[in-house]
């Protein structure tokens, strides 16, 4: 479990988020929703200790800021929203996911290679393993980086807007992969502007507004929080009655 207590974090000495208490469970997907500037990305960066924070963030009982870099990487993986199409082939990128597991030599063992191959199969990038990242599409790039963090085999995976920029079928594919990872006991925390999509695939929703948590709710109980949802993203949300609809939820004026 990731447990947050009295957290504040921000930029240039100005706190962007102030969270007295919040927790994220293993084996479930939590979506953090909120308007631009509400502090979603800041929260993820604080959990991965990219941003220094005041207060406490513990993952499996260990204070994140007190962990060594490699130990932290084995516990928490993070994928930012903007990914760089570096001049590397796909397999090399995914292999970097094993950096925290390969000791001082950073040589891949047969176990590491198997994990890299499995991550590429899971994200359906195995056929492009020899292609170069600067020659593939944005959606493919996102899947390759996802394969990298899956190969990292961390207990918690934080993803900043994982579905942004993907076509609908790849959005569904991305969320299905995350559901499968959650099924294996990994705690997934994502930020999303696509509320119907994230609610459809999440176990819990965390609503942020101006750096503060408004509510944490299960998606199926979200209709009861209509006022809070309107305060959070400016629109209400309803459970979609139409069985043929792609998502279980829809936004309302």
């Amino acid at each position: 479990m990731v447990e947050i207590k009295n957290l504040s974090a921000g930029y240039n000495g100005q706190p962007v988020i102030r969270i007295p208490s919040l927790s994220f469970g293993e084996g479930e997907i939590t979506s953090i929703i909120g308007e631009n500037g509400s502090g979603k990305s800041t929260l993820l960066k604080a959990i991965d200790n990219i941003l220094r924070y005041n207060g406490s963030i513990k993952a499996d009982g260990k204070e994140i800021a007190g962990l060594r870099h490699l130990e932290r990487a084995r516990l928490v993986a993070y994928l930012p929203q903007t990914l760089i199409p570096v001049r590397l082939n796909v397999r090399t990128l995914v292999s970097h996911g094993r950096y925290a597991h390969t000791g001082i030599s950073h040589r891949l063992s047969s176990v590491d290679r198997t994990m890299v191959d499995n991550a590429m199969v899971l994200t359906d990038v195995q056929d492009m393993r020899d292609r170069w990242l600067n020659e593939i599409s944005g959606g493919e790039l996102k899947r390759c980086y996802l394969a990298m963090v899956i190969a990292q085999n961390s207990r918690y995976i934080l993803l900043d807007e994982p579905a942004a920029g993907l076509d609908v079928s790849h959005q569904i594919m991305m969320m299905t992969i995350l559901r499968r990872l959650a099924g294996e006991g990994i705690g997934i925390i994502i930020t999303s502007h696509d509320t119907p999509l994230s609610l459809t695939y999440s176990d819990r929703v965390c609503m942020l507004k101006n750096g503060e948590v408004l509510a944490v709710q299960r998606p199926e109980e979200i209709e009861a929080e209509d006022a809070m949802m309107r305060k959070c993203i400016g629109y209400g949300i309803k459970i979609n009655g139409d069985e043929s609809a792609l998502y279980k939820y829809r936004l309302e004026k």
Binding site: I50, H69, L79, P80, L83, I84, L88, H96, A100
Partner: protein, 324 residues
């Protein structure tokens, strides 16, 4: 792999050519026999081979490898292909302090090497201070480097004018040359560069993560700030060790790593070794040309490489602009 083999073949050929051809016309077979039988060789031939040509080749090896790797490390650590020891002012900073060392400590080899390092380190610190003050954009860093480089260059000119006896051949020093290489400084620099290469290879898997961006490198478990400081420290060491041997040769650290990056997509360790080999080749080829293009007069090798490097730099800026 073929690039490495071609590089090594070119290196051996250029080194052999540099040993065989020079300003003194000596028969090839005489040189060969002197090379393999030093004891019975003619004293003049032995001097030409062991005191003039061999140190020159070894200086090319040290400076070519040092300047190229310095450029590669700067580019990787700063995520900026325009960064190089000459563009960032590191070579001029090292050069200025070599001259200051000559004023303060005379011909002390250790002092020269140490002061070159201090000068290079001080320059890159000034560059970062200016860049931080002016905003941390990539272009700001390069502009700060250009400004610091100009400042250090002014200092060099001032010393050369005010204290002309501090440097044996001021033109050779300012333009970069392999003639009159000091053997003791060469030995110190060779050891420094060899040890630094080993350290860089050990750290190569971490350095390889820089291009992914700081956030991704951090999340993978790399201590980004610590690695960046070490990489910059090593790049400064490579540049300083080179400058104390061959003066202010510019653009090797810009041209070679960028070309290697364009051609090869292998690991950082491979790029490092390829940069070293092709950096040596560039200096050896430039030196051969410098010795023969206006025979019997010799041009400083740094001047020829600058003639190649300046247009290369302009092309890179144009390409960056076209990419937006």
């Amino acid at each position: 792999m073929s690039l490495a083999l071609a590089g090594i073949a070119a290196l051996l050929s250029l080194a052999a050519a540099s040993l065989l051809y020079g300003n003194s016309s000596v028969d090839t077979s005489t040189l060969f026999s002197a090379f393999f039988d030093k004891q019975n060789a003619d004293q003049t031939i032995s001097m030409i081979l062991y005191d003039i040509r061999l140190p020159r080749v070894l200086a090319a090896v040290v400076c070519g490898a040092g300047l190229s790797i310095s450029g590669l490390l700067l580019q990787e650590a700063l995520g900026n292909n325009l960064a190089s020891p000459s563009v960032m002012g590191v070579t001029n900073g090292a050069g200025l302090f070599v001259l200051i060392s000559a004023i303060l400590f005379g011909n002390s080899v250790i002092a020269k090497s140490f002061m070159a390092f201090i000068g290079a380190l001080l320059t890159i610190t000034v560059v970062f201070a200016i860049s931080r003050y002016a905003g941390s954009a990539k272009s700001t860093l390069v502009l700060s480097g250009v400004a610091a480089s100009a400042l250090m260059s002014a200092g060099i000119n001032l010393i050369v004018v005010m204290k002309p006896d501090t440097v044996y051949d001021k033109m050779a020093f300012q333009l970069g040359s392999l003639s009159n290489v000091h053997k003791d400084i060469l030995a110190v620099s060779a050891v420094l560069i060899f040890v630094s290469i080993i350290i860089t290879v050990i750290l190569s898997k971490g350095i390889e993560l820089f291009p992914l961006g700081d956030d991704v490198a951090h999340e993978l478990g790399m201590p980004v700030r610590r690695y960046r400081v070490i990489a910059l420290f090593l790049s400064v060491l490579f540049a300083a060790a080179s400058v104390s041997v061959c003066g202010l040769i510019s653009f090797v650290g810009l041209i070679v790593p960028n070309l290697i990056r364009q051609i090869s997509r292998s690991s950082f360790a491979d790029k490092l070794l390829l940069s070293a080999v092709w950096g040596i080749n560039l200096i050896l080829a430039g030196d051969l040309l410098a010795k023969n293009i206006m025979y019997p007069y010799e041009l400083p090798v740094g001047m020829l490489i600058s003639l190649l490097g300046a247009p290369f730099f302009i092309i890179m800026i144009a390409k960056k602009r076209m990419r937006g």
